[in-house]
Symmetry: C2
Subunit: 349 residues, 2 copies
DNA sequence: TCAGATTCTGACAACGATGTCACGATTTGG
DNA sequence: CCAAATCGTGACATCGTTGTCAGAATCTGA
């Protein structure tokens, strides 16, 4: 028994097609046709249906429709980033959202805190919800667990970090080139004593940046084995402590490269604390808000998270629209922005 | 006809309960019982079902279940903020997400760019998707359009800005008190010539901050009519230009209050540009990354977006769990953080 | 004018799951 | 040892919607 007739007036229950059909005096299928703009409905009938729908404030249930419909799209996208509370991720997110809204698609976002286990859980949660596609800043070293889903045809695109163990698209910054560019910039000012402050060694991007930086030094004839390489710095505090130790050591660097924005913040604090910020060069990877207002201004290798996000989202939609081209690896170049801190010459010169 | 029997091996189609039931040699209802941990299934049967489910990599479709299930929850939440690419919103988002994951709920986020029309569209899009609740930094002046949805029992909680035209919960910063506190802080240093740089007058929070600041000045006997109040500054560039005009004018302020973080950034730039950053006091509303590394350090009235987000999310879940208490307006206090710029005494003293 | 095409409409099954109920097999208790 | 309660299981209707098909009404053209 259906309660269609009862409490029709002030009913707070959500109206369905059957309510609309009853009010308009037609069959549900006709309501369906009108609501979906299918052809072959008499104008007079359509008007009655629309009036009824409006009167009841009817909103079709997309999940019910999906169940029956052939294409089976939820018009939903999953985005997995290190943390939504993080400027880089925020910019990626915004770019993804902008592309998604154009396609009438809503975005689920989830923070991973660079924890592989959270990644697995979050991906599973999104797939259970049947997202149409996934954009993923992976935190794990191997993503073979995505294989069954990829075989089912779900588009997955990696941003910022590249996949391992699965064959799919990736959109990444030129980490190697950007870090090399930073090294060259410092070398050109005559520096010979460097320090490298790195993010978690488990992150592929961190390893690329390290390699880019060190290889450029090597090319310039710097004995790389002597360069202090401090890694696994994931927050400002750890980075600060690491740099303080170097500054207080026997042979402090004249030029510092910090491989990520939180690390850069820690490095800035350490330099201030020792009053070395005007005579020690610093280049950070990734741009930072207010970098131009510091004294000296902060020189950075800026990434372009908006481009990463936009391109990744466009790839997802291309795949959803049947683009079957083989997996691509799209590299977005970086931009060195000189603001002062990277142009400081070696002290004692 | 169902294709249950065909291509069972390397099938890439998503398996359903029927596939599992067939493989386990039981009825779908039994699979349902096992998957949902319902009682009264023989251990041996349960094992067979679980084996089959695992073999097929079966994942239940929550949308289909929802259709029939009584509680009708999508385990989904909609969050609407000014822009996901904005540190304040990012912090709110992260806090909301943390509460949501504890409840097994995923979060849709959408950026409004403070555009009322986008708000309407985004809210409609989320409601069509049947989110269980809505957390909203409204961009519109009146939200009566939410009335029907509220009557249906959908929990809606406002963050950062208060509702108008609807009766529902809100979690906001103490905008009035925070701005007043900033005024008192500056007055205590002996300032008499102030300037107020404000956000869009259409935003309620902006009006509260303005009122808080000016009333505190008034209490102190400052002729408020003479205080330049520049409003509708929504980005750094406009704020910069506005403050430059004041600084170049006949009677420049000795103390500036900027009512929002983008405005603060513009104000900082203007002060730098005129070389007035060491003799003009500045207090900003809302904290800013790296504020401690500027020279002088930036004094701010910090909000606590993590608290706003967390409390808002907790209210949503309380309501979902049947909390029927009347609408609350929860005020989160602000914290003045003195870092230097706000402690500059009036020049010429 | 009438056969055939076209337009409009609705009955019914189906999507993938769960709620209800009924039935046979076991267990319990007096 | 038998009636009653409990356990294990499956058939069937149902959630809100759309795909299929068929039938009635209208239109077309010779």
């Amino acid at each position: 028994m259906t309660s269609l007739s009862e409490s029709d007036a002030g009913s707070s229950a959500r109206p369905t097609m059957r309510h609309v059909a009853k009010l308009a005096g037609v069959a549900v299928k006709t309501v369906s046709r009108v609501v979906n703009g299918e052809p072959n409905v008499a104008p007079e009938t359509a008007r009655r249906v629309l009036d009824a729908a409006r009167a009841l404030d009817y909103q079709p249930d997309p999940h019910a429709g999906n169940l029956r419909r052939s294409d089976r799209r939820t018009r939903t996208l999953g985005l997995l980033v290190s943390s939504v509370d993080n400027p880089f991720a925020g910019a990626v997110h915004r770019a993804v959202e902008d592309v998604a809204v154009e396609h009438g698609v809503a975005v689920f976002a989830s923070s991973l805190d660079d924890d592989p286990e959270r990644e697995r859980e979050a991906v599973a949660a999104f797939l259970r919800r049947r997202v149409d596609g996934l954009i993923l800043t992976t935190a794990s070293t191997n993503q073979a667990y995505l294989e069954p889903e990829l075989r089912r045809g779900t588009p997955v695109v990696f941003v910022d970090r590249e996949p391992r163990g699965v064959e799919t698209d990736a959109v990444v910054s030129d980490n190697f080139g950007g870090a090399a560019r930073a090294a060259e910039h410092l070398l050109a000012r005559g520096h010979r004593r460097f320090a490298y402050l790195g993010d978690l060694h488990s992150l592929q991007t961190a390893r690329h940046r390290r390699r880019g930086f060190l290889e450029a030094l090597d090319h310039a004839g710097i004995p790389v084995a002597d360069v202090p390489v401090i890694e696994d710095l994931h927050d400002p505090e750890r980075a600060r402590e690491a740099l303080l130790r170097l500054l207080d050591g026997p042979n402090p660097p004249t030029a510092v490269f910090s491989s990520q924005n939180l690390v850069t913040v820690g490095a800035l604090r350490a330099l201030r604390e020792r009053g070395r910020h005007r005579d020690t060069a610093l280049v950070g990877f990734d741009d930072v808000e207010l970098a131009d207002l510091l004294e000296p201004g902060l020189t950075v290798v800026a990434q372009h998270p908006e481009d990463l996000g936009r391109i990744a989202a466009e790839r997802v939609f291309a795949k959803l629209n049947g683009d079957g081209s083989p997996s691509q690896r799209i590299v977005v170049s970086t931009t060195l922005i000189a603001r002062g801190s990277g142009e400081i010459p070696p002290s004692g010169m």
